[in-house]
Symmetry: C2
Subunit: 480 residues, 2 copies
């Protein structure tokens, strides 16, 4: 009976995903504006943790928090031509206040054009550089593609970091640092594997010189773009007249980068990559409830059990602990808290009280009877082991989903049967490769995601589409 309530089979990933968002009480999709959703406490607690971890890493790397207005006046928004052309179709416009018509204001779809106008006054000399600021906020895009909760919406939560440097070399170093921050958080803290790509010329952020992104693979084999960094060169500096006096007293345009981890998307990756047929699986460090205590109560030993539970909870003050004292049967409670993703469960029954022990079970089903005096130590060990196993499992899947194809038909077959990222020889990621990429897209739905960043992968083969000799290796995948 109970089992059936949460009988969510991850093999049907899309169904599983929609169901888990609902039953584990993460978001409410019934808000009556299309593309906008409500974050319920369970999601918001996770999001606050993810923000905290990410902001901490950004600050360690020298970034400082700021907050720019939500609204951008057209005179800013329209300064960088490519940028405005790219974003214009997606911008929400405010045109009225009360009953009055007012001069129109854009809701930020991203904040380059808000930040950089003031950066032109904040930056005077080389001693003001590097300037590295970030803001945590929501952005707004009138998506016309089908929206998908947490993955593509008209309002989403992110961080945007906007950095300014004296030299191109420093700016390109920042791209590497951003990748390092991404690795530290996404892989090391959240256990979500990814590849960092340099996107092809035709698939850049509008207004950027080049775009770098972290792609992960979802359980259905589709690719999800996670944080990206855009190298802006001097393009925005010129458009916004950002100049600095260098040591030689010459006025120069600085070089810029921007970095954007999408927090809503990262939550969706976290849920999807680690979740299983029983529901969510959350790592110990970020789980809103880290430990659930379930008393196994029989009438004759009720008092002792409840006392023991209280004692155990007191021993665990440094953790986020809850006790399930509801009237449900133990089995029901197990299923419920497993579905919610709580990493550690403590069971205490009459035998345990007598033997001064508890039963520890982690969310991956590993069970251990431990002495109460060893409890804290055992929980620490269990949380580390569980994280390691989650990460290993995720990496194993991720690696199994990266495959080589020597021909177009092989590519087509892998994308159809399995999905993931397919490594192929390709003519070029410069403008002239766009035609071949278009053919792949049209025939398979797969996109050329780019070349691996910071690792040179060279081939001696030929482009699988046009047959031109090429030393370029790209990854193709169907994306969200």
């Amino acid at each position: 009976m109970v089992e059936e309530i949460f009988n969510i089979n991850k093999k049907n990933f899309s169904e599983w995903y929609n169901e888990i968002l609902k039953v584990s009480d993460l978001v409410d999709l019934r808000y009556n504006v299309k593309g906008f959703l409500v974050y319920k406490p369970h999601a918001m607690q996770l999001i606050k943790k993810i923000y905290q971890i990410w902001e901490e890493e950004l600050e360690k790397a020298g970034h400082k928090p700021v907050l720019f207005p939500l609204v951008i006046p057209p005179e800013n928004f329209e300064l960088e031509k490519e940028h405005v052309e790219g974003f214009k179709p997606e911008v929400f416009w405010i045109t009225k206040a009360g009953d009055k018509k007012i001069e129109k204001l854009a809701l930020r779809p991203t904040s380059e054009t808000a930040f950089y106008q003031l950066y032109s006054t904040w930056i005077r000399s080389y001693s003001d550089l590097p300037l590295k600021c970030y803001q945590s906020c929501s952005v707004y895009r009138y998506e016309t593609k089908a929206t998908k909760p947490l993955i593509r919406g008209r309002e989403f939560l992110w961080i945007e970091a906007h950095d300014v440097f004296e030299t191109e070399k420093q700016a390109l170093e920042q791209v590497k640092q951003d990748m390092e921050i991404t690795r530290k958080v996404l892989l090391e803290k959240l256990g979500v594997p990814f590849i960092f790509f340099k996107r092809p010329e035709w698939d850049k952020f509008k207004g950027a010189v080049s775009t770098y992104t972290a792609d992960t693979i979802m359980p259905d084999g589709r690719i999800l773009q996670l944080p990206s960094t855009h190298y802006l060169g001097q393009k925005f500096a010129k458009a916004f007249n950002i100049k600095f006096a260098d040591k030689d007293e010459e006025e120069k345009y600085p070089y810029q980068t921007c970095y954007g981890p999408g927090i809503s998307r990262i939550l969706s990756a976290l849920i999807s990559v680690h979740g299983d047929n029983k529901g969510l699986v959350l790592q110990f460090d970020i789980s809103p409830v880290q430990i659930i205590i379930i008393p196994i109560i029989f009438d004759e030993s009720k008092t002792e059990i409840l006392e023991a539970v209280k004692k155990i909870k007191n021993m665990l003050k440094e953790y986020r602990v809850e006790i399930d004292n509801t009237e449900k049967r133990p089995g029901e409670k197990f299923y419920y808290w497993e579905m919610k993703g709580v990493p550690v469960r403590i069971e205490i029954g009459p035998k345990d009280v007598k033997n001064n022990q508890v039963v520890l079970v982690n969310r991956l089903g590993q069970k251990k009877t431990v002495k109460q005096e060893d409890l804290v130590k055992e929980i620490q060990k269990m949380s580390v082991d569980m994280y390691e196993e989650l990460r290993t499992r995720a990496e194993k899947y991720f690696n199994s989903m990266i495959n080589d194809a020597d021909s177009f038909s092989e590519l087509e077959k892998i994308l159809k049967d399995k999905g993931g990222l397919v490594r192929v020889n390709f003519c070029s990621v410069e403008k002239e490769g766009e035609k071949c990429a278009g053919i792949i897209k049209e025939k398979t739905g797969g996109e050329v995601r780019g070349t691996k960043f910071s690792e040179s992968e060279k081939s001696n083969g030929k482009c699988i589409i046009c047959g031109k000799k090429s030393n370029c290796v790209v990854y193709v995948g169907r994306a969200y």
Copy 2:
């Protein structure tokens, strides 16, 4: 010379305020949309701390974080008649996306009408109550009064908590709990004194049964409204059809409250109440930089001093510490960091290195030479003492600004000469008192702020305006 740069005399409060926002690098007022400002790192770091403290207290009191969309469709917004009438003139409307006209959407001026529509689906039975959720976000109001940075703007940061209860009694208890949370944070953690008022009938939140607010007094004697709680009764429950099945299986409308600490305003109070002629004064716990180390360098002892500085910094790992290694003279550095409000300064010169000591100076000018081995202990003590002194100083000023007036002419004189809150006998805070309040407002600019909450103050006198016998005591003040 240096002194003059920051020669900011708090006696001219308004000038002082505008100047301190600029020189201490809190906000940038040059953003090119009226009523919108940019929070620079110094302000944003403070704001993050204030949010953290407030959210922690709200969570201790059983609130959970959520996030509702920025946009509210008219069909929600217009459900509660009084509410919509009150807010309509101030609402920003989105009417376009890209080139397309879309159905208009309000930017939230406050989120009752976003929350409560879904609350009507979240609440089914008494076991779902109390429901206590909060969100930290920006809200948008097209203010037509003159805007003042952090105090009145078209975008401001706040928290809004929306609580639902089975009974009226529980809801009114929540008003008291909100006051307690306000006291804990505002007075005990931030050292900002206030009085909690019940607002008169004619000055309620639109749609509320009654409104309770914390008022503080600014250095110019004007009143600043800080957090407020609105008791909504069943008005919104009826408008949004929020019902629950009670234990007796009867369907009932619940009782609601909402609570809104305005974080931008609280920052302005914090700056204004504690700041002095040298600039900002920040408490140790919330200051972005808690300790500034200033090496007093002479050529012959440079190496030893810099080594000692490094050692000292290592001793203070649990604090937020910076070293000022710039080329400025020590005096200049002192002025700079005092202006920024840094609570503790450590000076280390050749004599100190020799004697294994440092000079500790707090932001209130108290100086002490301490042995290096006692440093941590002395800093802890200094930070506590400084906080106590700040709070005592603030309370002393606050209390001195609360005065009695027995007649209208006395009221007029106090408001003109001194400002603050003036306690007077008044006919009524119900609808029938509005006329007398109007006379006070017209002749003095003062507003009847309400009666003291949770303390009954009774008089046997007569209303200072109409002369009617009354036992009602109100406080009058000129407000921001």
